[in-house]
């Protein structure tokens, strides 16, 4: 009798629950890694099999879904979808390029900074989707190679996303599972992220920065851009910025106000939807709301839902406790060894496999380590290690994160393809550098 929440259902064909869940879990991972099937389909199918096989019933499966993560992701996606219509992202990119006199290296740094800051507050994929086309427009005008710019932005997106609870999906999951607040992330990871970002720019300067040049005439073409004209809807701009300010403040005060971050994000989303649609006729409202909802990344949302059910089902078999116990035996139950090992292992794993399923799996494993390591407080450095490894590891390879793939596709479209191996040879050592800095930081601050 294995179905959580009922006493009647039996596992399909009388199979051992742990064995069944383990095999299903591994197979799901393998299929996701092969990229032959859409990952949302794979995770939903795995979740369905968990229920169909009798390991979970529907009620239990729904309990496994972390609606705080789902609500936060969906809310932020709606806010960004509406905000981007105002032209603010193009404005920021052009403004920053002009601030440095349209000098090639200065533009690279400024666009990387803009990407990092926006990635900390918004989804990485959205950030690069907005900034990369402006970058290509500017590099085309300057007649400089866009590769270093895209390379720096790829790193900036993943590094910036590490700094906050909402910056990267792994952080959203970790924050929700470990009750770590927006402020916790900002205070604990923010300073480190600044150091890692600056340390990453140095090798980029040494490799490319000194050779980036353009003529005064070409720079003038960029200086002639009128950034204020990029703001196509100023009313919407102020509404979006106001709602974003309310939402960020809400995240910062969520702990004091005793509200979940998903509530804050969804409230912000509904407020912005209201402001955006208030002056429109009911017919037009239907159309605009439909368009806004159509831009939500439903594939990602359903991927999460399936994954949460799969991992929850796996957890009910007791397999996670066994694996956690085995892992602790490997590290001798030492918090320092566990945290540092997890940081590096997570980074290497996240460089090659999707960090979302990886983190979804590691969360219950780490929770199971609490008792052996001395309680939930002892897990704090472990959580930061997981976050740093999973987020920064995405810089190691081209397939390390979704935003990397977006940048690769942009580079391809402009005739400057980013190849796997040349990128790996440049990016992996840089990723190792960021891990080295993170290791020193985690060790000195928490261990």
């Amino acid at each position: 009798l294995v179905t959580e929440g009922t006493e009647t259902a039996r596992l399909f064909l009388g199979m051992d629950p742990a064995w069944f869940a383990g095999v299903l879990f591994v197979m799901t991972y393998v299929v996701i890694m092969t990229d032959r099937l859409n990952r949302a389909i794979v995770s939903l199918m795995a979740a369905g099999l968990m229920i169909a096989a009798g390991l979970l019933n529907q009620e239990a499966a729904l309990r496994g879904i972390d609606f705080n993560t789902i609500g936060l992701l969906t809310g932020m996606m709606i806010i960004v979808t509406i905000t981007k219509k105002s032209g603010i992202f193009q404005y920021l990119a052009i403004w920053s390029a002009k601030k440095v006199g349209a000098k090639p290296w200065g533009i690279l740094v400024m666009l990387a900074v803009v990407t990092a800051v926006l990635s900390a507050l918004l989804p990485n994929v959205t950030t690069v989707l907005m900034i990369a086309p402006v970058t290509l427009l500017i590099t085309d005008a300057l007649k400089v190679n866009p590769y270093p710019y895209l390379f720096a932005q790829l790193f900036a997106a993943n590094i910036g996303g590490t700094a906050t609870l909402i910056g990267d999906p792994p952080n959203i999951m970790i924050g929700s599972a470990a009750n770590l607040t927006f402020n916790d992330f900002l205070v604990n990871l923010g300073p480190l992220v600044v150091v890692v970002f600056m340390a990453t720019l140095l090798p980029i300067y040494l490799i490319w920065g000194r050779t980036l040049t353009s003529t005064p005439e070409r720079r003038q073409r960029v200086l002639d851009y009128r950034e204020s004209d990029a703001l196509t809807d100023k009313r919407l701009l102020w509404q979006s910025l106001s709602v974003l300010a309310v939402v960020i403040t809400g995240f910062a005060l969520a702990d004091v106000l005793h509200v979940e971050v998903a509530t804050v994000a969804m409230f912000g989303a509904s407020l912005l939807l209201l402001l955006d649609n208030l002056p429109r006729s009911p017919g037009e409202q239907n159309k605009v709301v439909e368009q806004t909802f159509a831009e939500i990344e439903w594939q990602t949302i359903f991927f999460f839902i399936g994954l949460f059910i799969l991992v929850y089902g796996l957890g009910t078999t007791g397999l996670m406790e066994d694996v956690a116990h085995d892992l602790l035996e490997l590290t001798g139950g030492n918090t320092t060894v566990t945290a540092i090992s997890l940081l590096w292992a997570s980074a290497v794993a996240s460089a090659f496999v999707d960090n979302i399923p990886y983190v979804a799996t590691m969360i219950p494993l780490i929770k199971n380590m609490a008792a052996s390591l001395g309680g939930p407080q002892a897990l704090v450095p472990i959580w930061w290690s997981l976050s740093l490894g999973a987020c920064l590891g995405g810089n190691g390879t081209l397939v390390g994160s979704s935003s990397n793939l977006i940048i690769v596709s942009f580079a391809e479209r402009t005739g400057h393809p980013i190849r796997f191996m040349p990128f790996l040879l440049m990016a992996f050592p840089l990723m190792l550098l960021s891990l080295l800095i993170s290791t020193v930081y985690v060790y000195l601050r928490y261990l």
Binding site: P133, L136, L137, D140, A230, S409, F410, R413, T414
Partner: protein, 152 residues
Amino acid sequence: MTASTIMDPKPTVLHPSDTVRTATHHIMHHRYRNLPVVDDHGCYLGIFGVHCLMRLMLPPAVVMKEGLTTIPFIRETLQDLHRRLLEVEDSPISQCINELVTVVEPDTPLLETLLVLYKTRTSVPVVEKASRRLVGMISYWDVTSKILATEV
């Protein structure tokens, strides 16, 4: 009646190795909207037309997939656009062939051909299914003039 009844069986064609300059000359001189592009064996590859010329005059960041949807912040002059076209005029047209235009087969019924013309809003290549050989082109003008010339 079929597509072959109303097509121009000897259309002006371009080859992938033709330069943008050559294509521009044909398009502007004869006011063509689109010209079919064929390989050395006469097999259909796609079309090159005024839309392709527009594309070459715009920054790549605008015309690429998921590129910038609006660029009101750039103020360029006619000279700037001409300069951009001059930069690519010696390039082969193969870089900008549109392969997504709907084609009809020689035996496509007349009304279906008219529907394709109506939907695609451009001249339609007539291509043999098996050999992919271009056998003609059908423009709005060909069809309309032939319809009007027919006695009722």
